[in-house]
Symmetry: C2
Subunit: 185 residues, 2 copies
Amino acid sequence: MAKTSSLEYALLGLLKQLPQSGYDLRKIFATTPMRHFSDSPGSIYPALRRMQGRKWLVAGAEGGNARKRQAFRVSRAGERALVEWLRRPITREDVIWRNQELALRFAFLDGNVEREFTRTFLDDLERELTDYTRELRDYARSMKSDSGPNTGLLAFQQGVEGYEAQLAWARRARKQLKEASYESR
Amino acid sequence: MAKTSSLEYALLGLLKQLPQSGYDLRKIFATTPMRHFSDSPGSIYPALRRMQGRKWLVAGAEGGNARKRQAFRVSRAGERALVEWLRRPITREDVIWRNQELALRFAFLDGNVEREFTRTFLDDLERELTDYTRELRDYARSMKSDSGPNTGLLAFQQGVEGYEAQLAWARRARKQLKEASYESR
DNA sequence: GTGCACATGTAATGTGTTACATGATTAT
DNA sequence: ATAATCATGTAACACATTACATGTGCAC
């Protein structure tokens, strides 16, 4: 069971929203806040190929001509893979090593899972962030003994504050979702 | 001119602070907040080898025996490489693609560059973060038209708030450094 | 003398990066 | 027709990950 890179899921999620070509996807990575993905052809076209090989994508039938624009759409199997990824339990390892990927997963929840799951996602994220920030703060106490503000300690604090900002966001997002569900009654 | 991975600079910075063995370094990655680096031998030992090849490190002379603990220390050339990395101008690309690496660089400033440079670093970081958050907020306005809170927009906001938290940190850090320099008169 | 933690290494694999190559379409 | 842009592809390379292999020193 080969692991799927987060680039592939990004492509899958985007193609689920709107079937389009590799070139279109590259332009998204080149010009929108999804910039942190590389727009190089050497990463995107091979990824699309791999996903075709797994039958997650089907290429829009374009006349036999190569070198012509061809849009991809997500197959049933592709949808299943996407949803499986979205529904994966959130672990502390996700928070530490794959934080960007978590944001990507959250962004793609709409339209792919029931609304209730979005709240579960935020609950789980809050739990992991709470645990992890507690651990980091404990660690900070143990290094505070050093004299004066040094850049090592400051850099560490930046990390902690980043996680705390994310935690604050998660709480607020949950509240907003609840309010929205009242309104829609 | 081969690019050096951020793992190698992490190792270099740690060894500059305290000469130690590959195993010691692995333990640091396994047990401290530097966890987001992998502690796998398959990444660390080859990296140390590469750096030895570049003469950035010298192995503590341990009797002919392999399989025995050997500490590395940073050579003059290694120090120069470290300082060159620390002093690199901060670009928007750093902020977007190599944010973690920026934090690492900041953490290693102490003891390797003059204190004045730390302020320059924070100034430059503030500038890039200010520009980039402005750009992100502009983009946010353009997608706000969609109805209600959707997870895509919320995920995007999380990203912006992360950068804003970092900006707030940078301002605060600069203030603290200034106060510390008053005290030390 | 057996087991466990210490300590280093390597081989297979997959993927991202960079740089280059090539054909198709549109504007001038 | 020619340049620019659209659109896809590939080859070389470096690196991280995973899993496995090997040896050392100490405790019991």
